[in-house]
Amino acid sequence: MTASAVRPGEYVAPGRPLSRRHALFAGLCLCCLPTLGRAADAFTMDEVGPGIFVRKGLIADATPDNADAIANIGFLIGRTGVLVTESGGSLADGQWLRAEIAKRTTKPITHVVLSHVHPDHVFGAGAFVQDKPVFIGHAKLAEALGARGEFYRKRLVDLLGEDRTGPVVYPTLSVADTAEIDLGDRRLTVTAHGPAHTTCDLSMIESGSGLLFPADLLFVNRIPSLDGSLRGWLKEAERLKAMGATRAVPGHGPVAVDLAPALADLTGYLIALRDGTRAAIAKDVPIEKAVASVAQDQRDKWALFDTYNGRNVTVAYQELEWE
């Protein structure tokens, strides 16, 4: 072998054998299944408020069969147009949502929210480009997408194939602090949060229903995944609490929940993660042991705990060891 065999692309997002198997499987399925695959057959839109529709995402990770339809996505219909609260986890997921919108209204899709950088929340946006909406994102979203967009896209292409993945869509309206979106008969207040779940989290409150859309600042049932700042997330959770909403549409979990108990569960986990990690650092418990011991008392409370807790500890440890 010689150096000429080096092709950088081979190293950027290497496919795991799992991915290859899945990709093959997806290829076989494409010919005989609806756009979203088998898992989508069960999907429905729930009307969680007047003219506000939410699809519950699967409590799972992305697979070829589920088109990364794992986040709670939806839309609300205003007098002047439709705002998409979350676009979906892939082009296919976004197309499914767009078809659901068309079943319920002929109003134009004027706004699409990109709640943060994670693929399950932004790759649906490609389905709405043709509608020329305002794509709303956190002021730090563009650079986060610049850093990770293609990385995520390649991994998603490995799973779903090019056609069902779609492009990386950038925000056209950046929110650094807050913004008001007017849909004629209803308004949304959009808030840009400090580093928390990620470094580019947006939340929204809808004026008519008082519903809060915290996106992935609120996980319910599914274990929160930490990719921003643990201390920051606890701070932003306090901010959500003070926003005056009683009901919320979490990024993952049921389509709508009472905010206070859901936030209490979330912060319960984050505090267990923070305190456990701090204690491990103080006792010189190394990171490879901490991942197996921290926050274990939370294990029964969360789906996918074993998949994400160790990773959360790894992220938390790096943040807290420099305190």
Partner: protein, 280 residues
């Protein structure tokens, strides 16, 4: 399997590879061929033969299960931060240890050369792993013989994984260091944890503003001394995780621990730490 549309990547990668191979001994071009998760044991063994030859030449390497042991998670939780423990219980016989991550773009991750103040019994570091790979630790004993141990690790994308912050933010406080000392007994080696603020850019991460690749910038030399006696000198590479953390043990003589680090871009930092007096 992957196709790439960004042509800019190739020279940057080549540069990273060139820097990486220049930093450690010899060419590892043979190792840079496509490495796959589905490779057979024979293919992995053949790749290791090539890498070992490029690093150690024709020197014979015996396998060992006592002189060095690698502990790494079978499946990494975070490919950009894979904790590795190297155990070398035979104090006095170990002169140096090399860590090689066979299927990383620059496989030779680190070499530690131990000095008179070292207790090499246990050494920990955090690395990036870019693919399903064999990992090799090769120790050189005082009599000049080489021994290897191996562990297979499942991870992917660790070298190209973005850091989740801007380059400027990632470089904030670059060169800051901390050292923690574990409780110790008089006359016994002291365990210490060295933390260094440094992004250790791999050269495979996208810059968020320019959308080009951030050039590789990594700690390439690190020397830790207890007074005038060397504990270890590390030669490092892009496979070391950002904000490097190294756990090691040293034989104290009451003098401060001095750390001197430099990176491949000319950065250079020195810090001194006072170990606690042994408690009786």
């Amino acid at each position: 399997m992957m196709t790439r549309t960004d042509r800019k990547a190739a020279p940057t990668f080549a540069l990273a590879l060139a820097l990486a191979t220049a930093a450690l001994s010899g060419s590892v071009a043979g190792a840079a061929r496509a490495a796959g998760a589905s490779d057979s044991d024979q293919e992995r063994a053949a790749r290791w033969q090539e890498i070992a030859k490029s690093i150690f030449g024709d020197r014979r390497i015996e396998t060992t299960d006592s002189l060095v042991k690698i502990d790494a998670p079978g499946r990494a939780l975070d490919a950009a931060l894979v904790p590795i423990t190297l155990t070398m219980p035979d104090d006095g016989r170990i002169k140096a240890v090399s860590l090689i991550i066979d299927d990383n773009p620059a496989p030779y991750a680190a070499k530690f050369e131990f000095g008179p103040a070292a207790d090499p019994a246990e050494l920990k570091l955090r690395v990036r792993v870019n693919n399903y790979t064999d990992m090799h630790a090769v120790v050189e004993t005082q009599d000049g013989k080489l021994y290897e141990a191996k562990q297979f690790v499942k991870a992917s994308g660790g070298c190209s994984a973005p850091m989740g912050m801007s380059d400027e933010e990632a470089m904030k406080g670059m060169g800051d260091m901390r050292m923690k000392f574990a409780d110790s007994q008089p006359g016994k080696p002291v365990e210490a944890t060295l933390m260094i603020r440094h992004p250790n850019f791999s050269g495979m991460q996208m810059n968020q503003v320019t959308r080009d690749y951030t050039p590789a910038r990594y700690i390439d030399k690190l020397t830790v001394s207890a007074g005038d006696r060397t504990v270890f000198t590390m030669t490092g590479d892009i496979s070391i995780a950002s904000n490097p953390v190294i756990n090691f043990a040293f034989k104290p003589d009451g003098k401060p621990i001095r750390v001197s680090a430099s990176d491949n871009a000319g950065g250079s930092w020195q810090h001194s730490f006072n170990p606690p007096s042994p408690t009786n």
